[in-house]
Subunit: 458 residues, 2 copies
């Protein structure tokens, strides 16, 4: 008789795992049921700002594979608009509810994969649930926002939170012709980037016409007579607006796990081993709902990011399919493109390094991204963080106009291998005038960091 795998959550991690498991085990050996609360599977949540901003035209473009395709091509029993409400890990059953018709059903399983993703953080503010306040987590969220743009012709938007999503959404609103106020409690946008580089980002945002309110707390959201948002109250006054967008981050959606006694750890992420198995027999987890091992701090953390979810899903699916695969951990690599800037980071920032117990030595360089004489050369500012005694690379951050973003991957690779900056400075990277100066900015930054380490002494 076939075993049954139940996957809770039909986005990146869940469906990667499901299709990978299917690749290894046929339907008569493994039945796969995938439960998804929303209406879509395998969609690109990170593409939502580009869709809302108009760069991507069609909602369907963001769906890598639809429920129908999974059913037809992979023999996966995908149930959309269905929620897992209860998990009994002793009986190995999960209770699911049809959100359209309301029926409940109990599914038994041999293997369960928790891929419940992350929940947007909704600060407990008066008015936070009012119509006109939008999250951007799912395609349905994006659609609601686009509908509001079409129906209400709003003129002003307040974005709360200046992280990746907040910045991308602020730009999207500018592209839609709205005027935008961005409210951030920290003193800089993109607090995952060190302050010295953050200032540059702030400049670029102001240059696009985004009104920045930094070091400012939101205290309440006020609605009009119809109940629609009309203003945002902050520690520095009131901002009149036609809509509010939340860019306040996300946390692992691990309620189901917690309620069933599956252990959670860092930031509420489900605890998993290298093979994505939880400590509870038969229960696996992957993606934004889990905690992940950070290779530099050697501590668990939680990061909501599609690229990690896809990798973990694939690892889980390989193991569920009877294979053997392990997830090697993360570096905290991230990149975005906003307001004409490419912003990227990997490893630890200066402050994070200190928090993790390292003594960081930093160096920042500004270099061109092409040979100086080659037309179209742009600037890249690179900050390198190294460990004082060993010179080991701890992290890097790049803010550049065009042409710098993916250079972070060279640092990521060096970080992965624990290369000292002294060594990195002489690695045989590619060179041609259209792509870099003869000393690639990565090498220049590493060299300057190596000099700083040497000067700091032992």
């Amino acid at each position: 008789m076939a075993e049954r795998l139940v996957v809770v959550g039909g986005d990146a991690a869940g469906m990667s795992a499901a299709s990978q498991a299917r690749r290894h085990r046929a339907p008569d050996d493994l039945e796969i049921v995938a439960i998804e609360r929303g209406g879509d599977t395998s969609y690109a949540a990170c593409g939502i700002p580009y869709w809302v901003g108009g760069t991507v035209q069609d909602r369907d473009d963001l769906v890598a594979r639809s429920p129908e395709e999974f059913r037809r091509d992979h023999d996966i029993d995908v149930r959309i608009r269905t929620e897992a409400t209860e998990l009994d890990v002793d009986a190995r059953t999960v209770t699911i509810r049809d959100l359209t018709f309301g029926g409940e059903e109990q599914l038994s399983y041999d293997h369960l994969l928790l891929a419940t993703g992350a929940d947007p953080i909704r600060p407990p503010l008066p008015g936070i649930d009012a119509p006109g306040v939008f999250g951007v987590q799912t395609l349905d969220d994006g659609q609601e926002l686009l509908d509001a743009l079409a129906d209400r012709d709003p003129k002003r938007a307040v974005v709360i939170g200046a992280g990746y999503i907040g910045l991308e959404m602020a730009e999207a609103m500018i592209q839609r012709g709205l005027s935008v106020d961005l409210v951030e409690r920290f003193d800089q946008p993109m607090s995952t980037i060190d302050p010295d580089l953050g200032e540059r980002i702030a400049e670029a945002m102001r240059g696009m016409g985004i009104e920045l309110h930094l070091g400012v707390d939101v205290t309440a959201i006020e609605t009009d007579d119809e109940g629609w948002v009309r203003s945002v109250h902050t520690s520095e006054g009131e901002l009149t607006t036609d809509l509010v967008i939340l860019g306040t981050g996300a946390r692992p959606a691990s309620e189901l796990a917690v309620s069933a006694g599956v252990p959670t750890g860092a930031r509420g992420g489900v605890v998993v081993d290298r093979r994505q198995q939880t400590p509870v027999d038969g229960v696996w987890a992957a993606g934004d709902c889990t905690q992940v091992f950070h290779r530099v701090t050697r501590e668990p953390t939680a990061i909501a990011l599609g690229t990690i979810a896809n990798k973990q899903g694939r690892i889980a699916g390989t193991n569920l399919g009877g294979g053997y695969a392990t997830f090697p951990g993360v570096l905290g690599t991230a990149v975005t493109k906003v307001c004409g800037l490419e912003i990227s980071r990997t490893g630890l920032g200066e402050h994070e390094a200190r928090q993790a117990g390292f003594e960081p030595i930093c160096a920042t360089v500004r270099s061109t991204t092409r040979a100086g004489y080659y037309p179209g050369a742009r600037w890249a500012t690179i900050k390198v963080i190294a460990e004082r005694r060993t010179g080991r690379l701890l992290g890097a951050q790049i803010v550049s106009e065009e042409g710098g973003a993916k250079r972070i991957d060279v640092f990521a690779m060096a970080l992965w291998c624990e290369v000292p900056v002294e060594e990195l400075a002489y690695v045989d990277l590619s060179y041609a005038p259209p792509f870099s100066p003869v000393w690639d900015p990565v090498l220049i930054a590493a060299r300057k960091a190596a000099d700083a380490v040497r000067e700091a002494g032992v």
Copy 2:
């Protein structure tokens, strides 16, 4: 009394070394004399095709630092249009000749740095030295070619050799409005790229209107009544032309070293240790004239490339300045942009791997360089070469439209650290829709190579 350092060759390696040595030792401690046969110092030879093609406007743009600047700012006694004709390593003297006025002089030295660069290979063909046959090694070469373009209004060019320079010059001639025949003795352009990717390059070149003659030997160059080139004879017939450009490669310019008994090795490159010291007391060497250690083959080779020359010059200069630095070797990383393609490689190709005694397993993937739904996504074809038993990365090659070139550096970094492709497939690289699909092409290619290694078995 001050010691004297004589640097023979005033381009990348020589002047990097000279200025680095100066940084560590003041003029009253170390006198530095730099001898340069041509009229320029520290010029970007790799920029010549872009200058000749019109992308870069001004000759001076290609000069990073002029002789005057070195004299004024660094107290380096630069003597241009001066040739070193004889070297006596026992007496520690070098004889130099002023090429303008003809005078000779003997300079004694405490330390000598050979930075004589590479000589273009001029195949021993009848007519090879005729007016109208151009090399593209120095700025003077480039100027002569530009003068010929202006004065003679040529309609047709034959480029001999389809390596990096040959391809770049063929494109430059197209940009100048000439019709171009490119003759290459191998069956594909860019023989440093594996044939399966080479075909794509050939297509792109034909698409630009370049007439490719592959697997064809040049037998003679014929001149007209004035002595100017008029045609190129090949194994497949005669090509009428107004000028000929040599893209037939270069080899270490080590005659002076050889004549003085300084040992040479691979491809005629001067033998140096990790600190760029030759086996002869007081004699150092750096740049294109040396042999370099290849980290994958673990054999010496010789590669004429500005990025290596700069690094070696800096290493030599640090050591000559009383510091300690070692050159870690090369990977054979290279990149170019021709005919709308970005072409890059690092490590060993399939055939090279076999020649070096490895059993290679290869995988080739075609992927987009952005998320599929993000506008402007382009294609990249990536070939990964891995070692059969260990899965260790041996090399990678990328041919892409826009956006792929610098990805080779991630492979270079992985290769540097001898990372297995299985591990590379899960490295935490950056992801955002404008920059890559959620699985970066590097990861996809590594994963496919890992699968191939697994399938090949032990």
